[in-house]
């Protein structure tokens, strides 16, 4: 019987948020097509994850092996390939995580099946599955169908699918998996957790955050000044760390920190989803960007479409003036 198979992901003793998101999407797609929803979780100790997943899935396949210490792409690819061959799900669904980016493309080639990654929508149309992706810096949406195939592989964008209540009690099946002899051409050496830095941006109530639009490191000076008059801290998006202008501890987003300040003032930040997932919980979001079509303006409460290098000094003056009046 064909169904929908969700590949769940875990790290640091918890299921990944994105796994709940794609699980909820998978539940919806399965209900719409009256299909079974299956979830697979692999690891050295998966009992707790399997119980959790059974809240959404009709059947949970729990693959337990000491080889699965850490969630590594190669052994997982072998397991998922085996399960897809055996179960022949109509769709296999994963979050578009770093793990999926490492595994899904090679898995699709191994099985010779279509793959669509980082999808922002997944939907049925006349019995076929279609996906929408966000391309060209979030400025265009592209809808795709798949070549004729028994099964397709889809990864869903992080933060795109809302988590619905599970409330089910699916069956849990333990699966034995025999790994072939281990090859040592690729040796896992361990995880390196991010080092704690000098400034903890997650504790700041006001973040003045800079992106690529700052253009030059020397312009950070006026940004520091704005943060100072607002009683806040300077954070940034990825390019600013890539250029070496600020340390990685200041980075907001998927590969950096998740923040929830009272004010998030984004300067020259376009608002790629990798950044937005890290800051959309802020109470007030203000964006200053000269590109009126920058996706940040659909997240922000207030926006100024202009050159930040002109607005920031003016803003420093006005805030100082207003503060002077009250003090």
């Amino acid at each position: 019987m064909s169904g929908i198979l969700v590949v769940a992901e875990h790290r640091n003793r918890a299921l990944a948020n994105v796994s709940y998101q794609v699980l909820s999407k998978g539940r919806q797609l399965a209900d719409q097509a009256q299909m079974e929803l299956l979830a697979v979780v692999a690891g050295s100790d998966v009992d707790a994850y399997a119980k959790e997943l059974a809240g959404w899935a009709d059947r949970v396949l729990a693959v337990k092996s000491d080889r699965l210490e850490g969630l590594l792409a190669e052994p997982c690819q072998k397991i998922i390939a085996h399960l897809i061959r055996k179960i022949k799900p109509k769709i296999t669904l994963m979050g578009h995580s770093s793990f999926a980016m490492d595994m899904a493309p090679s898995l699709s080639v191994e099985l010779g099946i279509p793959l669509a990654t980082d999808c922002i929508d997944i939907f049925w149309q006349n019995g076929d599955i279609l996906v929408t992706r966000s391309i060209y810096n979030s400025k265009v949406n592209a809808t795709y169908s798949f070549a004729q195939s028994e099964t397709v592989l889809i990864t869903g964008r992080v933060g795109e699918f809302s988590v619905e209540e599970g409330g089910r009690q699916g069956q849990i099946e333990e699966i034995e998996f025999d790994f072939e002899e281990e090859s040592d051409y690729k040796k896992f050496e361990g995880y390196l957790e991010a080092e704690a830095g000098g400034v903890d941006i997650t504790q700041a109530e006001v973040l003045v955050s800079v992106g690529r639009g700052i253009k030059d490191k020397k312009n950070l000076e006026m940004v520091e000044e704005l943060a100072r008059v607002l009683g806040g801290v300077v954070s940034c998006s990825r390019p600013v760390v890539d250029y070496g202008w600020l340390p990685s501890e200041r980075q907001v987003g998927l590969s950096g920190k998740t923040v929830q300040p009272k004010l998030y003032l984004g300067l020259g930040i376009s608002g790629a989803f990798q950044h937005v997932v890290g800051m959309k919980g802020a109470s007030i979001i203000v964006a200053i960007n000269k590109d009126a079509k920058a996706p940040i303006f659909s997240v922000a409460n207030y926006g100024i479409v202009d050159d930040l290098l002109k607005v920031v000094p003016a803003l420093v003056n006005k805030i100082s003036e207003l503060k002077g009046k009250t003090e």
């Binding site: 770093s98 699709s108 795709y144 040796k187 207030y302 805030i319």
Partner: protein
């Protein structure tokens, strides 16, 4: 160490506020856009050049695209590539799988220790190509690499997971890595450098050179239509000259109790 770097040319849409979709909904109108090397590929090239400078060997840059894609190969040659190959093909309707099939055919006939890709492209961002080619070549891979050190016969890499965590691997060569931004600071290439790279030879291959034909290249994923994203929630825009806008924003922030 012989290195292959696969690169592409992309339209720069990062600050374009005039994107239009053609009436057939198949492509965007590109005549007003500037084109450039894919951001991630610039980091991959820099990583390749640094390894070559340290360990010797050759660097071959490869792209699959029409004639105006030569400019990214010129850039690669200016950065320090020894050879440049363009497989002549309009890839605008191709999916990652199709391009992977072409690249695998070309790469498998070359001698290499390490193949580098950018982790994803700026235009479509599917992040599939590198790991697909690795699987087709039957060599190990790691994606999203932010630390890369090489010695004889192996590479030590760290790849990026979420929230700043890194995953560390030692991988025996030959191998394929996809490179993330921030792994290095790509060197500045002057126009003069690119002009002098015009002297270097650029090899152009037809699809049938590696034994492929257009009929054999069938995409697995098919574009149905392009659309502008639906208008969602929009920010309340504060208009006016910088001074005026700043004054209004300052008042809003003060009223909200920020300062």
């Amino acid at each position: 160490m012989d290195i292959i770097a696969c690169i592409k040319r992309v339209p720069d849409t990062s600050e374009a506020d005039f994107i239009k979709i053609d009436p057939a909904q198949r492509d965007i109108e590109k005549d007003r856009l500037a084109f450039k090397i894919n951001n991630w590929d610039e980091y991959a090239l820099e990583a390749a050049v640094q390894l070559k400078e340290k360990l010797g060997g050759t660097l071959t840059a490869i792209t699959v695209g029409p004639e105006d894609w030569n400019e990214v190969l010129r850039r690669a040659l200016a950065m320090g590539a020894d050879n440049a190959i363009r497989i002549d093909r309009d890839v605008s309707a191709d999916d990652a799988y199709t391009v992977a099939v072409i690249l695998e055919r070309v790469i498998q006939r070359l001698s290499y220790d390490l193949v580098l890709f950018g982790a994803q492209s700026e235009d479509f961002g599917s992040g599939q190509l590198g790991a697909m080619v690795a699987e087709m070549l039957g060599i190990p891979h790691a994606t999203l690499v932010t630390v890369l050190e090489a010695e004889e016969g192996k590479v030590h890499t760290q790849r990026e997971l979420e929230a700043g965590t890194l995953q560390s691997y030692t991988i025996e060569l030959p191998a394929l890595l996809t490179v993330h931004t921030g792994i290095n600071q790509p060197r500045y290439i002057s126009l003069r450098g690119i002009r002098s790279a015009m002297q270097k030879e650029l090899q152009v291959m037809a699809l049938d050179d590696p034994g492929l034909s257009p009929e054999t290249l069938v995409p697995m994923v098919k574009l149905e239509k392009l659309e502008l994203p639906p208008k969602g929630k929009e920010a309340e825009l504060i208009a006016g000259a910088p001074e005026e806008a700043a004054e209004r924003l300052a008042k809003i922030l003060k009223d909200a109790g920020i300062f």
